[in-house]
């Protein structure tokens, strides 16, 4: 799996491309921006066409890591199929989910201002 990473200030935008499954989930779990407590993270799922239990687990681990460090992980861009998987497992209730990256960054920048 290719994960394209860009950043804007303390916000890291991770854009995985392909299948988020047992093979590729460790790349999310071990990503430096997810481990870094000072980064807020957007996981842009626009180019993810498949997610399984392992992929969901990796995203939940990202959320847990950030919450333990008072950080934030938000999701954006998921297609209809992914949304169904998030909804049937109730995982969508754990996250702020946006349609696109741009409003996601706006949201995080607002949170950043509130925190300072």
């Amino acid at each position: 799996m290719i994960i394209t990473e860009t950043s804007k200030g303390d916000i890291a935008i991770l854009a995985p491309d392909g299948k988020l499954d047992h093979d590729s989930a460790p790349e999310i779990r071990q990503n430096r921006s997810i481990i870094d407590p000072d980064k807020m993270v957007v996981i842009d799922l626009e180019k993810v066409d498949f997610i399984d239990d392992s992929g969901l687990g990796a995203i939940i681990c990202a959320l847990r890591n950030k919450r333990n460090a008072n950080g934030v992980t938000v999701l954006s861009g998921m297609n209809h199929r992914l949304r169904i998987i998030f909804e049937i497992t109730n995982i969508h209730k754990l996250f702020n989910i946006f349609d696109d990256v741009a409003p996601t960054i706006e949201y995080l920048e607002t949170r950043q201002i509130e925190r300072t």
Binding site: H22, F50, D52, G57, C61, I88
Partner: protein, 139 residues
């Protein structure tokens, strides 16, 4: 006449994608004979996901028991229905597993829940020393 395809794979995690992509190919074959492909993408995706979860579960449970097994997958075609059976030699299990408590942020354990939701019918029964997980879905 109904048709079937059977494949046997080593129960190793590196074969999960092969198994799930085979399921997707078989599902594509069924829809190509029945409906426009564009209308069947969800059907194909659901089979790919169900086999991915089922195969992964079988491998993980075998690893816990420190055993390597062969997993047999049988695809049974009916005119507008596909059934997939996965046979493993793990200990008995039930598909009626409790729903993970989401507030605890469990980083896994959603596999059977996903299978039950994306398939029309899911059963599991014991055949000698094997489990047979049977998953079916209609067009």
């Amino acid at each position: 006449m109904n048709k079937s395809i059977t494949i046997t794979l080593p129960g190793e995690i590196k074969f999960v994608r092969f198994a799930s992509q085979t399921a997707a190919s078989v599902a594509t074959l069924l829809i190509s004979e029945n409906i426009p492909e564009s209308e069947g993408t969800q059907f194909v995706h659901d089979f790919e996901l169900a086999i991915c979860e089922a195969f992964t579960n079988s491998v993980k449970h075998a690893v816990k028991r420190d055993t390597l097994q062969m997993l047999t997958i049988t695809f049974e075609f009916e005119p507008r229905q596909l059934t997939v059976c996965l046979r493993d030699t793990n200990g008995p299990f039930t598909i009626e597993t409790p729903t993970p408590e989401i507030t605890d942020y469990p980083p896994g354990g959603y596999g059977l829940m996903i299978i039950r939701k994306v398939m029309d019918g899911v059963t599991c029964h014991r055949d000698g020393d094997s489990n047979i997980l049977r998953m079916s879905k209609s067009l």
